[in-house]
Symmetry: C2
Subunit: 730 residues, 2 copies
């Protein structure tokens, strides 16, 4: 594993900043005053420039930020002499519609990001209106997590600091009295653009153009430009500006199973037994709405299905299961804190419940304190924060955009912030107890990197779910392509493979009484009629889940690098190969950590094309060597999701364990892929909030029987050991 940063990274403060602390104070810099004329650009932090237009709104992601920037880590990135976008070429203009900004776009420049977009990865030539919408079925910009941040393959990123539904045109717009595209552009650029897939329309992609941004209602806006020199460093800077990735609890990287929504406590315990008996790994059991005495809206109180929640939690803990509880924020009158919350909620209800004003300290405290004392203190390890993504277009399931909140936000702004500040509210409760958590959430926005939450959706197209993994990495988001129902066993296996090689490996069986590998048909499943040959399908799924467990050490280290350096653990190929036009439009493959390429397969595909970037790659399953820099059409046997290891990789795989706390999870089989002396790093810490993180450097030279392990520091948690060193290439 060729991780760059193998020295021990010094401990840094991780956590939420005090509510109300000024953002400018938090990052120790910033533009002139909060009002007045366009401010000259300034380098806000190393490699990050701020340009202010007009008088920005008060309620913006940066102005209301809850995590401080990771200043020290930003200082460790290569210094830049100047802003990568000529600042004088960035212009702004106020109109009665709001505020417009324009940024230059170079010939052949490609644009990515804008949040969790399901339908497209490459945004050049496209228009997006970044509305929060739980049902983003078109490619118009609606998203669970529409992030006003984009990055360019030329090596910079742009944050438009707004909580409005902005519209962005990523090129393609020509003014009648402005410069017109030349009949033919530069030949070299045109040739590079021509390498995009034929299905891709190229517009003026080989020509100079502009990014146009329109922020409704605002009378000004701050732009933040994040330097590279490459797209990867630009994303790192954005993530570090956000506060860096979260430090995950190790159990969060194991396998998650969400239990039937109507399950009673004895059903949950019996499922837990079944998983352990059948030796199917599992770290987290998720409870769906049935745990609450009232949901839609929520009482946040145990229902009579769980007469003894403490005993249930205790028993599950004894078997090393962590428990995650479903909820949403709309607070039912029977919730114990309903009365206290009333003055600190919006003027409209949802499902008869109050809408907490999470932008205000009071609502955060009331809501968070209750969660801390009534649930977290009793052993609940995390939450699934549902319905925070403006399901209003689905049905009348959210607060209107014309809502008003005590913090001064209207409904549009609150929709942008709602998922994010909801996460912060719960996170603060965990921090007060000194606990890490990992949760699920259905909405997010800008500066979300530090939040230990993974996005999910009620949509279910497998192609879109894969594209979600690719896109989330551009904008400080994590995405869970969960497995719910499946058409048939093939579909189940293919979807399970994708979730196994994703930030959060989860089966969400809320709709069926028994695990889907026993029966994919819902009615049959609920009736207890298991499919013929289900044991074989279960065995296949078990092997896949065991594969996840093998990757936990590798994934944990990838997340530590997200935390320390801002490198997304899952990301698009273009982020590591920006100068290779063949990577520009790839939306069905991604990188996992530093050295692994994943190319999931959707049911019904007996073969698929995989683009292997330059260099040599090895098939994870067979060890077969493949030369990169080309598109490979390969057959894809059902049990083998295409996974490729970069030559030069020392890959530490854990012995499959039933959960991440088992000793086996720290026993490593180290595989060498490629010749020469190989090295990799693993990270270990005590699981606390602000830990000393030891770095284990594994080295193995060709010809040696065994490799060596070197540890930096000691946090008292020495558990990793190497069991086997093996060559895995031909």
């Amino acid at each position: 594993m060729s991780m760059h940063n193998q020295k021990k990274v010094s401990r840094r403060r991780f956590g939420l900043i005090a509510a109300g602390a000024s953002a400018m104070a938090a990052h120790g810099s910033g533009a002139k005053g909060a009002s007045g004329q366009d401010a000259g650009p300034s380098e806000a932090l190393p490699g990050i420039w701020q340009k202010r237009f007009g008088t920005p709104e008060q309620l913006t992601p940066v102005q209301t930020r809850t995590y401080p920037p990771a200043v020290q880590a930003l200082h460790q990135l290569p210094p830049l002499q100047q802003c990568p976008v000529p600042l004088e070429q960035i212009t702004g203009r106020m109109s009665k519609r709001g505020y417009e900004a324009r940024l230059p776009l170079a010939p052949g420049e490609m644009i990515y990001g804008l949040g969790l977009q399901f339908q497209s990865v490459l945004q050049r030539g496209r228009k997006k209106t970044l509305r929060v919408n739980a049902d983003p079925v078109g490619d118009a910009g609606d998203s669970h997590a529409p992030v006003p941040f984009y990055v360019s393959n030329l090596g910079y990123g742009v944050l438009i600091d707004t909580a409005r539904y902005l519209t962005i045109y990523c090129g393609g717009k020509v003014k009648k009295d402005g410069p017109h595209p030349a009949p033919t552009g530069d030949a070299q650029t045109a040739a590079r653009v021509a390498q995009l897939p034929k299905s891709f329309e190229r517009y003026d992609m080989d020509q100079a153009s502009e990014v146009l941004i329109e922020v409704p209602e605002a009378q000004g806006v701050d732009l933040y430009i994040f330097g590279g020199p490459t797209i990867r460093e630009a994303v790192q800077r954005y993530n570090l500006f956000s506060g860096g990735g979260p430090l995950l609890p190790r159990w969060g990287l194991g396998f998650w199973y969400r239990v039937y929504g109507q399950a009673r406590q004895e059903d949950v315990l019996s499922l837990a037994d079944e998983l352990r008996t059948n030796q199917i790994p599992c770290d987290v059991l998720g409870l769906e709405p049935g745990w609450q005495s009232h949901s839609y809206s929520c009482s946040f109180t145990w229902s009579d299905k769980f007469p003894d929640p403490d005993a249930t939690l205790f028993k599950l803990k004894g078997k090393n299961f962590h428990v995650n509880l479903w909820e949403h924020a709309f607070t039912h009158p029977t919730a114990p804190f309903h009365k206290a919350l009333f003055p600190y909620s919006g003027n409209y209800e949802v499902w008869g419940g109050l809408v907490p004003d999470f932008l205000g300290k009071e609502a955060r405290t009331i809501f968070g304190d209750y969660h801390e004392k009534a649930l977290i203190a009793h052993g609940v390890s995390g939450f699934k924060l549902d319905e925070c993504d403006n399901s209003d277009f689905t049905r009348s399931w959210s607060f209107p955009e014309l809502s008003r909140f005590p913090s001064g936000a209207d409904g549009e702004q609150m929709h942008c912030f709602f998922g994010l500040r909801y996460q912060d509210t719960i996170q603060a409760a965990y921090q007060r107890r000194g606990l890490r958590t990992l949760g699920l959430v259905r909405s997010s926005h800008a500066l979300a990197a530090p939040s230990p939450y993974v996005l999910y959706s009620d949509l279910y197209d497998h192609h879109e779910f894969i594209r979600g993994v690719v896109n989330a990495g551009f904008c400080g988001l994590l995405w869970c392509p969960e497995v719910r129902d499946a058409k048939d066993p093939e579909d189940l296996i293919r979807r399970l493979q994708t979730t196994i090689f994703s930030p959060l490996a989860m089966v969400n069986a809320w709709y069926i009484r028994n695990p889907p590998w026993k029966q994919v048909d819902r009615e049959q499943n609920d009736a207890g009629h298991f499919a013929q040959g289900w044991a074989q399908l279960q065995a296949t799924c078990k092997r896949l889940i065991e594969t996840r467990m093998q990757f936990v050490p590798y994934l944990y280290s990838s997340f530590v690098r997200y935390h320390q350096e801002g490198i997304p653990p899952f990301r698009a190929l273009v982020m590591d190969y920006p100068d290779d036009p063949q990577t520009w439009a790839v939306d069905d493959q991604y990188l996992m950590g530093e050295n692994i390429l994943v190319a999931p397969v959707v049911a019904g595909q007996p073969v698929r094309d995989v683009y292997l970037p330059r260099g040599t790659w090895f098939d994870f399953w067979t060890g077969k060597k493949m030369e990169g820099g080309r598109l490979v059409n390969m057959s894809v046997p059902l049990e083998q999701i295409p996974v490729f290891i970069k030559s030069g990789t020392l890959l530490p795989l854990a012995v499959p364990s039933l959960h991440t706390a088992q000793a086996e999870s720290f026993q490593l089989n180290v595989r060498a892929y490629g010749p020469g002396t190989l090295e990799c790093s693993l990270h270990e810490d005590d699981g606390s909030l602000n830990p000393e993180i030891d770095v284990l450097t594994l080295t193995w030279a060709e010809g040696q029987g065994e490799g060596s392990v070197r540890r930096s520091g000691s946090n008292g948690q020495i558990r990793y050991s190497v069991q086997k060193w093996e060559r895995r290439f031909t």
Copy 2:
């Protein structure tokens, strides 16, 4: 045919009003001044109330209207004593977001309209943001024709006079300090609501609620309330306020065929010969982009594929074909009027072409004059106005919302107006030549009823295409569920059946060289490889098209009633049966004219449910009698689209003809459905712009051998004659 209005309706002025004429002047009434405080409500026209909030924008549908209201026809509707919505209950409020308005919603009240919505008919409980979007794949309000007009089953309509992308919440929103829905509503109302299909979520449908409307950017808004007493009269009033439906050229009701996009003039002539030789009826041939020397953007000039357009048009006219030309408005530099148009266009180009400012007289004149002299004068009968529906979310294919136009409109306003004023521009050219036209268009908006244009879309879901027919009738729109490609012969037949029983019966074969009945597979078709047994499929399609020709007299009269009385020729069941809850959610059946119910079938359905409203109905194909007031599950033989005739109908069907000018098209077989003395009306005129319209009253009493025909007036076009009187019921 029990048409209510059988007296000769007096001639009334039909046509565009002079550009620039004030809307208030045009309908001779209106609120106090264009600025100032909220004006008290006033009855603007009979049964139509206006309520002004704040200072409305200048560029609104009413303020820029181009057709005068049909005042005389409005006076013929039943007078109303008071506004059906308690005017004091309609409130407004300005915010920094724009202008909000609230209207009461009664328990059990159902809401319809909001333009060409593809995904839903019943809007109660839903939120819609009315954006112009060529790709409306979700149910969020995006539409080719988002009309800010809704109607209620309680018998009134509301026009929100704005050209902004307004958001409307049709109930379901509850204020935390406002009245809350009762635990259980009124039992009778609840029972009625419970008759909605089970799949339908009912929210607070049996409770009182509010309609919330948010108009962005505006500092005021005019609301117009259209009284009933029923939903049908409310829609009539809206359509008459708009100016009444268009007087169609009779040929527009025949069959349309759009020719292969790359066809040369000899290919078009040869196709015309083929249709006549094979006796397949056709009135209109449409030419796609290939006719122009440059398209995307448009030169509006014949290409070298048509070296002699005049001769081609002359030959086609000789065979009674009308020619419709595809175009869009984005004006290429090679268009002869490009230079003249330059100052009267928006500041952004599309596909290198100018965007005409159709809100200004200059652009309308330049664009319209050219069309009149260069194309209409040479015999072009109409146009297909493409790409006027903001395809920006599809690709970078339109002008940005931040565009500016000489008229003062921004891009958002212009998108709302663009399709509509484009239609007006072409319509004015036809009017100057004293010609009727019927065209196709991809966008429309409020007050569109008088415009002789039928909407179409590049989307293609058959269910949505059927729903389009249902929804268009609420808002003064016409919709063409055109046939393009087909999966297989069944799909072709099912889609053809829907288009045959729709406002415009068309096969759009732009993508294939030969008619689809010869070969549905595109590649095979283009290679000239016809499917086995194609002659049989052609015969089936021919019979279907002949069915269309039989209905031309009935349809023509239905359109005359749309023109004279504002009754939509195609409309939802709820419009005629508002008190029957079983009709409230029906989105796959519609009424055609006064007496016919159509229930199209989508390929793959061997049976379907049809809801027959109260009364007795007869199967059009078999004459079989069926009692209504119930849901009937019926088998649907491939060649018989379910069509039902209301008992008491005298149905005049033409002898199938090759085109609508043939004598056979006026020779009638009159079918009696049901006992007793039956009567119906047909309309005949000279085809001019402001004709004397004769009414033929057909009467047939049970027991008589033949019926009688009575004509009011004589316009010199006595062509109708009855060939046969027959009983068609068992």
